[in-house]
């Protein structure tokens, strides 16, 4: 494992206002993650896992605190810069796969490359799909794929830009146990190969054990 720092979270807080009441979802979170490191964030429903992920991905703004990615506080960037930064440095895997329904598997994977303006997108996307064992499904639309295959496509899409940090939100949550295991195997295999950092949100303790570190999100704090 390399000791290169990928991301550092400092004093990260998020408060929501609901019906005139303030709800402090995250309270001064602090942690670091290095290249090749995998961290599992555990927590019950409503504990703020998704809020935490959305802050890490720069999809939302915190009430307080910073997220430094490659030394850059992502909240100092404007929306345009943030979009570009995200395209080049972040990969996200969702529980519901979120593939674009009208694009083929190959097009879905090459999409982030094209957005980031990276050349040879199709070639790289084909390779990424081969890496996840889907070289026979390149031209299939999402509706023609099984759940496991969809999540593999989503993994390939997240890896294809070779991001520094990968965020995974319950990646096996919508799959049956066997397929889930296969998909996670693929995911960890890819993380190991690419030496990127992985933050995995789950409430599956067994899955969390596969990660280097396990952090629990409770009452807005990481323990």
């Amino acid at each position: 494992m390399k000791n290169t720092l990928i991301a550092e979270v400092k004093n990260l807080s998020k408060t929501y206002s609901q019906a005139g009441t303030s709800i402090e979802v995250l309270k001064g979170l602090e942690f670091k993650i290095n290249a090749g490191e995998t961290i599992a964030i555990l927590g019950q429903s409503g504990s703020g896992k998704s809020t935490f992920l959305s802050l890490l991905a720069g999809l939302d703004r915190p009430t307080q605190g910073t997220v430094l990615l490659k030394g850059q506080n992502i909240f100092d960037l404007n929306e345009k810069e943030l979009a570009q930064f995200r395209a080049q440095n972040l990969g996200i895997i969702f529980q519901q796969f979120h593939l674009i329904s009208y694009l083929t598997a190959l097009e879905n994977v090459s999409l982030p490359l094209e957005i980031a303006g990276i050349s040879n997108a199709e070639k790289k996307a084909t390779q990424a799909l081969q890496d996840v064992g889907l070289d026979h499904r390149l031209y299939h639309l999402p509706q023609q794929l099984s759940g496991g295959e969809k999540q593999r496509v989503a993994i390939a899409r997240a890896f294809v830009v070779q991001p520094k940090l990968l965020l995974a939100d319950e990646p096996s949550g919508s799959l049956d146990p066997k397929t889930g295991r296969e998909v996670l195997e693929t995911l960890f295999q890819q993380v190991q190969l690419s030496q990127m950092a992985l933050i995995l949100v789950t409430h599956n303790a067994g899955l969390a054990q596969k990660c280097h570190r396990q952090l629990r999100l409770k009452d807005g704090r990481l323990t």
Partner: protein, 837 residues
């Protein structure tokens, strides 16, 4: 329970419900507005029918009634409590400053029996024995005439007593060749303008007590006076006839409004289909729990009925607000008639039910097995079943079109035209998508995303393409037809428009008039005899005058009735003029020789012949002032009426009418404005009984009237285009909701807002451009077909108008859809993660 569940569905799907109601109500608004307008106008004409006719009953003829006819009508007319008469003709008014054609109405003391002629100075018109005239403000303005000025009518100088402020009869009249002038009957006789064959209307007016049945009296007179040249008209019919002028315009406005309703139904249908597609799994769940599919369908049937009713209500309110405003603009009292409300209610609820029918059928055969499927199930069933289930809606729309047009011909033409346009445009979508699929568009990401979306979502692509395409057909068709008719009037093909049109030329005036014009450097053209006659028999069978006016149902019936119940003007000409051409049969064999026993040859205008059921070889028998004349149809002609040349429905070969009493019509070719005024003034001084129509000012007046009609049509078309845009907005708003996840995903993957915006602009702009381009092509083809086959006129094309509309519609489509998408674009992509929470 069903109603309760239906209301719950409406409440819980507010966005869909509001979009559905707005869509349908906009289509119904145009329909209700127009029908209310039409009914209000008709009602107004009915209320004022006695003022329109100025009597309870009137008899009009081109000649004074003979003694026998007077005796026939005496029993009825004895019952009249008051009567009067007028003699009306067109003639030239001469002043030292110039001459002009005017409509002379010579009246007797009691005229008008109803209504009044108010004067500018105040009070009403009263005759005395002095040579006085009362002129319309229009004539005063045209000839710069003031009260006290003297003008010349034929041989008689008359003093302008006053100007007419308000004329209850005139204000209801439509297009007139010339402005009005009133004088006494005894003064008219002194002018010397009444000559044999002059174009004169003799009218008798009668007033009955309120107990008298006017319609019964009218029927009796129609039975007694069988000459088609005699018109017997009750005040009720006069009101209907006046209303008919507006009704003709209203027919076409109604059809334009139906396009709006069609587009609105298309939008509502798309929305309902999308809504139901999202509910299918819930419906399947209900079915799996034991609810019979028919009952499940009934919940949604109740829902669309409620939505249809709500749309009708919104349309009612919108019309109730709009009518007083329009009434103020038109200076007309407008109201929401019960019949219009009822028909809109039926159309609104009916449309709502019919457009949902294909999808509700699908529920009937819905299997709960879809609950085990991962993907979203579409509501559309088998292709054949889907097509068949559209037929009830199409059939009802067809009936509605015929009802609105009051014509099977126009209604069918409209319906099949719209169906053809829709099918043609719809057929282009799969072809276009197939081409799009094969195009190498992967180099530009926005282009690729846009094309991929269109290809993978053919139903929404089709709905968008149709709403823009049909909008373009309509938007281009109306101004294109406007331009065609305008250019046909301004520069008719096949004949040069004359400067002056002359009528009431006496036989003995033809040669001196020709000589006079020659001396003035002009020439008399197209000299055509005019012989008044009546058609007595066709192939030996007495010609039937149609009198069942109450039974008239379509515009075609009305046209036949008008053509049948009229006097005949015969002429003779060989060869034909340049404004007419033989379409079937053979040309005349030459000059008719009285020594032969052959039946003289006649030529009949083809539309006229078709309306009256005439065929080549038919023998017609005419009565020309007591003398029977036979004629055998040897050919049918197409006449270009807009040439402003003397043209006739029936023409004999030359030599037949030589001995008949006649007047002549003629034209004078192109003259510059000073020459025209000079020749006209000098000519009237020498030939005071001849009436002269200034063709260019007549064209101007016709164009002004036409512009107003065309403006009304374009205004209604605008409403249809707005409806089309509402459909666009609803579809793209719905798409924005369904594509929210994809837009957010693109943002998560690092796509900038600009890229997503660019994708939408390409997608919707592309649809807008292609749909309006093909819509324009369909529209231009239709304008050609209508010009060639319906109006029988020439076709002209200007590329500038379609280009402007194509670009305009592309821009409007892009703006409308971008507006619908804007909220989704600005949303933060947080919901993608919330599903894991």
């Amino acid at each position: 329970m069903k109603i309760k569940l239906a209301f719950r569905e409406i409440a819980q799907n507010r966005k869909f419900s509001v979009a559905y109601i707005l869509n349908l109500s906009l289509g119904l608004f145009g329909f209700l507005l127009l029908n209310s307008l039409n009914e209000s106008v008709q009602k107004n004409f009915q209320t004022h029918s006695r003022s329109i006719l100025t009597a309870d009953l009137a008899i009009a003829c081109r000649r004074p009634l003979d003694l026998q006819e007077e005796e026939k009508i005496a029993p009825i007319l004895k019952k009249a409590i008051a009567s009067t008469q007028t003699i009306e003709l067109y003639s030239m008014v001469v002043t030292p400053r110039g001459s002009r054609l005017a409509e002379l109405i010579a009246i007797e003391d009691q005229y008008p029996l109803y209504g009044e002629i108010q004067l500018k100075k105040g009070g009403t018109l009263h005759l005395n024995q002095q040579p006085l005239v009362w002129i319309s403000t229009e004539l005063a303005a045209q000839m710069n005439l003031r009260i006290g000025d003297t003008l010349q009518l034929g041989a008689l100088p008359l003093r302008v007593e006053d100007q007419i402020g308000q004329d209850s009869r005139a204000s209801w009249n439509g297009f007139s060749l010339a402005p009005k002038l009133y004088l006494g009957v005894s003064q008219l006789h002194q002018t010397g303008l009444l000559r044999p064959g002059s174009t004169v209307w003799y009218r008798k007016f009668f007033k009955f007590s309120s107990e008298e049945d006017v319609e019964k009296a009218t029927k009796f007179l129609k039975q007694k006076l069988t000459d088609p040249g005699i018109q017997i008209i009750s005040h009720r019919t006069a009101g209907e006839q006046m209303g008919r002028i507006f009704a003709y315009l209203s027919d076409y406005l109604g059809l334009v409004a139906l396009v709006g309703l069609f587009l609105a139904s298309l939008g509502s249908s798309y929305l309902f289909q999308s809504f139901l597609s999202h509910r299918l799994k819930e419906i399947a769940t209900l079915i799996s729990l034991g609810l019979p599919p028919l009952k499940a369908a009934q919940i949604y049937l109740a829902q669309v009925t409620i939505l249809g009713l709500a749309s009708v209500l919104v349309a009612f309110f919108a019309t109730a607000i709009a009518l007083p405003i329009i009434g103020k603009i038109l200076s007309f009292q407008l109201e929401l008639p019960l019949l219009s409300l009822l028909s809109t209610f039926l159309v609104g609820v009916g449309a709502s039910l019919l457009i949902s029918l294909p999808f509700l059928f699908r529920i009937r055969s819905l299997s709960p097995t879809i609950l085990f499927q991962d993907t979203e199930t579409q509501i559309m069933g088998e292709r054949l079943e889907s097509i068949l289930s559209c037929f009830p809606a199409l059939f009802c729309f067809y009936l509605l079109a015929v009802w609105q047009a009051h014509s099977w011909k126009i209604g069918s033409l409209f319906f099949f035209g719209l169906c053809f346009s829709s099918l043609f445009l719809a057929a282009l979508v799969p072809v276009g998508l197939r081409i799009l699929r094969r195009l190498p568009l992967s180099k530009t990401l926005s282009l690729k995303l846009a094309s991929r979306y269109l290809v993978q979502n053919p139903r929404s692509t089709l709905a968008l393409f149709l709403s823009v395409g049909i909008g373009a057909v309509l938007t281009i068709l109306i101004p294109q037809m406007h331009q065609n008719i305008k250019s046909e009037i301004l520069a008719p093909s096949g004949a040069q428009t004359p400067s002056l049109f002359l009528f009431d030329i006496q036989e003995d005036q033809v040669n001196p008039l020709s000589e006079f014009l020659k001396s003035e450097g002009a020439s008399l053209l197209q000299i055509s005899p005019l012989v008044r006659a009546r058609l007595e028999a066709m192939n030996g069978n007495p010609f039937q005058k149609k009198s069942k006016e109450d039974a008239l149902s379509t515009r075609e019936d009305e046209q036949e009735n008008r053509m049948r119940n009229r006097g005949f003007n015969l002429s003779s000409r060989d060869p034909l003029s340049e404004s007419e051409v033989i379409t079937s049969g053979k040309p005349f064999s030459g000059k008719y020789l009285k020594s032969t026993s052959k039946i003289p040859e006649i030529s009949v205008e083809r539309t006229y012949a078709k309306t009256l059921g005439m065929h080549l070889g038919d023998v017609l028998q005419f009565d020309v002032q007591g003398t029977p004349i036979l004629g055998k149809i040897v050919n049918f002609r197409k006449v270009r009426w807009t040439s402003f040349q003397p043209n006739f429905f029936i023409q004999f070969q030359s030599g037949v009418l030589d001995d008949a009493p006649k007047t002549y019509l003629a034209t004078i070719g192109k003259l510059n404005i000073p020459d025209r005024a000079r020749i006209q003034n000098k000519m009237i001084q020498q030939f005071s009984n001849i009436s002269v129509v200034d063709v260019s000012s007549l064209i101007q007046r016709m164009l002004e009237l036409f512009e107003q009609l065309s403006g009304a049509l374009q205004l209604m078309a605008l409403l249809s285009v707005i409806t089309g845009n509402m459909v666009l907005f609803s579809i793209s708003r719905h798409q924005a909701q369904t594509r929210q996840r994809e837009v957010q995903l693109l943002k998560v993957l690092g796509a900038k807002i600009r890229l997503i915006e660019q994708t939408h602009w390409i997608e919707f702009g592309g649809i807008g451009l292609l749909a309006s381009l093909f819509g324009a092509a369909v529209s231009i083809a239709f304008s050609w077909l209508i010009s060639a086959f319906l109006f029988d006129s020439s076709w002209s094309f200007s590329w500038l108008l379609p280009v402007k509309i194509i670009f305009g519609m592309t821009l409007i489509t892009s703006i409308t859809t971008s507006w619908a998408m804007r909220k989704t674009l600005n949303e933060k992509p947080l919901s993608l993660l919330n599903q894991g929470e």
